[in-house]
Amino acid sequence: MAKIIVVTSGKGGVGKTTSSAAIGTGLAQRGHKTIIIDFDVGLRNLDLIMGCERRVVYDFVNVLNGEASLTQAMIKDKRIDKLFVLPASQTRDKDALTQEGVQTVLNELKENFDFIICDSPAGIEKGAQMALYYADEAIVVTNPEVSSVRDSDRILGILQSKSLRAETGGEPVKEHLLLTRYNPVRVDAGEMLSVSDVEDILAIPLLGVIPESESVLKASNQGVPVILDEQALAGQAYNDAVERLLGNEVEYRFLEVEKKGFLKRLLGGK
């Protein structure tokens, strides 16, 4: 039986799709059969980040409407065995997703997968609520920045009141904090909220801290999930987060400023 994990944030542009792609890929790399579903109807982007945009024939909404079967719409990743993507549609019809439809698709997927990653759209409207409704766990992607932290707290409120688990009085959705675009230099300078600041305010367990990194843009340019870039600090940090998601204890890295040698500092090297 699959575990359904929603990747959500409230605020846009904080790294939901990047994180969904990285974590989904990381889980599949470790042998867990994983599907990443793009819930952002109208603004599909997961396909680009995963590098499968030219292979989209049918999408999530086609499946819901019975115009295509799940197997026709799922795109199998060419790099990683056991990794699949279900793209969102580009339709402008906001009501394309229905609760019953989503439930039917998820139930079917649950039989065949270990993990279902739901990449939520931004906002707290219907699309975002649909993405989180059936979740067992939630990864709340947050930037160390005031508006992102506030929006994350709002989405936590919705998880605690409007998810299936909340409505049926089941065990609460398990929440994880994923802090992205973290810059230890600026934290040290007192210009950026620290990990512990954000942890204190949101009061949910930390899953990972992804350092701000040029490699994230480079990876998205190429359509390669950043976790596959083993040289990149962001890729390594995502790997740590995946391990923690699987229940393994991993020490935190990249939280401190890298120590520069005297000569490097003198010459202004980066």
Binding site: E145, V146, V149, R150, D153, R154, G157, S161, V187, A189, G190, E191, M192, L193, S194, D197, D200, I201, L202, R265, L266, L267, G268
Partner: protein, 83 residues
Amino acid sequence: MGIFNYFRKEVPVKTASTARDRLQVIVAHERSQRRQPDYLPRMQQEILEVIKKYINIEQDQISVQVDDTDDCSVLELNITLPE
């Protein structure tokens, strides 16, 4: 930092602590609102209208809150009257 500005250290402004303090206040406030019933803002508005007929008060001089304990709910109404 190159050789020329090595000795010219700026005094950093610690804006992160301001951010943290502001967030703590607003998040706590919004969490307390979240637990309130949906009709509360409308009810607060209507109560305000009624009082305004007799006394000149502003929106921020009235607060309505519902506190739930185990076996009873208390509707708390606070109005600050002008001098």
